[in-house]
């Protein structure tokens, strides 16, 4: 078993101090990804700095802006009635993450900071244009989540930075967003996943945001696909065109889970179906 020290700072300040004091130490939230990485020799931190005991990091508030604490567990997100009302696409993605046991411990912040292109929580946040708040001892910044992911396993987090909050603007009444995921079996890392958000006025699409997971080095906004939908009176033809474009605008790989060819196909299909579902929903 890999040995490491484990600290439970009671404040962000204490967390930053420990980080400074122990080179190579890593911040940990739920740990469901990180502990597996340590077990499999992918990372070798001498110490883990748990953020779980820091008050306020796991709360969810809905005021002007919705603030989701980074340490909110995936289960917390599913159980939150305001999130279900305002951001059902986020709740939908949360329900598709892992198993009940994993969801009770895994956090939204952890899922993002793990930086996987498969990150289930990334796609709804991308299409809902979330911002992330990153803090160090001396600095605080907010970025659009599009800028957060840098590569497989890599985010733009500086080594002493902690992702503390995810911020969402209130959704408009005509926003409909859908999340779809395809795995090999039901509990699985995504072979491909998509989130589609359409802000509709009648049949006219005011705004389209589309994101795909597991088909690029990062969770990817498909801006070219968004462009063919925005401003248009949407029909089935648009959904099919979006399918075709989505296929051509992702860069999947072949790995143990699936092939490049299949992932491309599936992304197209999921985009088309998500658009169809969002349209259905907005017309209902």
């Amino acid at each position: 078993m890999k040995q490491f020290e484990y600290y439970k700072p009671l404040s962000l300040g204490e967390a930053w101090e420990l980080k400074k004091k122990i080179p190579g130490s890593l911040f940990i939230a739920g740990g469901t990804d990180m502990l597996v990485g340590i077990k499999n020799n992918e990372i070798h931190p001498p110490a883990l700095l748990s953020l779980r005991s820091i008050p306020g990091l796991n709360s969810i508030e809905t005021n002007e802006v919705t603030r989701i604490g980074a340490l909110a567990t995936i289960s917390d997100i599913i159980r939150n009635p305001e999130l279900k009302e305002d951001f059902p696409v986020l709740v939908e993605a949360a329900k598709n993450l892992g198993s009940m046991q994993i969801r009770n411990v895994a956090t939204i912040g952890g899922n993002l900071c793990n930086g996987s292109p498969c990150a289930d929580m990334a796609l709804p946040l991308l299409v809902m244009e979330a911002k992330v708040r990153l803090q160090t001892a001396n600095d605080k910044r907010e970025l659009p989540i599009d800028e957060f992911f840098k590569g497989p396993g890599k985010s733009c987090l500086a080594s002493h930075e902690i992702l503390t909050d995810i911020l969402l603007d209130p959704p408009s009444k005509n926003t409909k967003a859908v999340f779809m995921k395809k795995g090999r079996v039901k509990m699985d890392l995504a072979v491909a996943s998509v989130a589609v958000r359409l802000d509709m006025e009648g049949s006219k699409c005011l705004k389209a945001r589309i994101a795909a997971g597991s088909v690029a080095p990062v969770p990817l906004r498909l801006s070219k696909v968004e462009a063919v939908l925005e401003g248009e009176a949407l029909t089935q033809k648009h959904a099919s065109e979006a399918q075709r474009l989505a296929k051509d605008n992702v860069i999947p790989i072949t790995d143990i889970r699936s092939t490049e060819e299949y992932r491309r196909q599936i992304t197209g299909v999921l985009v088309k179906r998500a658009i169809e579902r969002a349209l259905e929903w907005s017309q209902a």
Binding site: V36, S50, R52, K95, M100, Q101
Partner: protein
């Protein structure tokens, strides 16, 4: 790095000195001799190590020992009644033929308990969702789902 932690295990307070890199499953099985919780994969995929912490089902193979401080943990050993009688859920598993080799059983029962404790009238879909993270190689799950349904119904009637 070691520290003393204290937590509630199956209703009783325990105090134990644990290593920083140990997991709750190590504390339970090796230090406290509670071998009912099984390690099936060590990576949170199979659910054989499922325990309940503060009412929520978790994989004890991924739960750092240090994080258990002050929490309330329920393992399979905590389900029996005062006269060593099986709980309703356990009895239902026995009666429905939901147990073959039995290795997945403790974890499966605890996932079922976590579900029923928070949802007294689970649908079949709720049950399958709750058990998604518990793998079984022997039963094909049919009698397990039946057992959980019947247990939930029985517990509801009791209330």
């Amino acid at each position: 790095m070691k520290t003393e932690i204290s937590f509630i295990l199956n209703g009783s307070e325990v105090q134990v000195s644990v290593h920083s890199h140990h997991r709750l499953i190590d504390v339970l099985r090796k230090q406290l001799g509670q071998t009912g919780t099984k390690e099936g994969c060590g990576e949170g995929e199979c659910g054989a190590c499922t325990v309940i912490i503060d009412g929520r089902a978790v994989n004890s193979c991924l739960y750092p020992a240090f994080e258990v401080e002050g929490k309330s943990v329920t393992t399979i050993e905590g389900l029996q009644g005062p006269k060593n009688e099986l709980s309703v859920i356990q009895q239902s598993f026995v009666e429905q033929g939901a147990i073959q080799c039995g290795f997945c059983t403790p974890g499966m029962i605890l996932s079922a308990k976590a579900l029923i404790d928070s949802n007294s009238d689970p649908s079949e879909e709720d049950i399958r969702d709750a058990l998604l993270g518990n793998l079984c190689r022997c039963t094909g799950y049919v009698q397990i789902v039946e057992a959980v349904k019947k247990a939930a119904a029985q517990l509801k009637r009791k209330k």
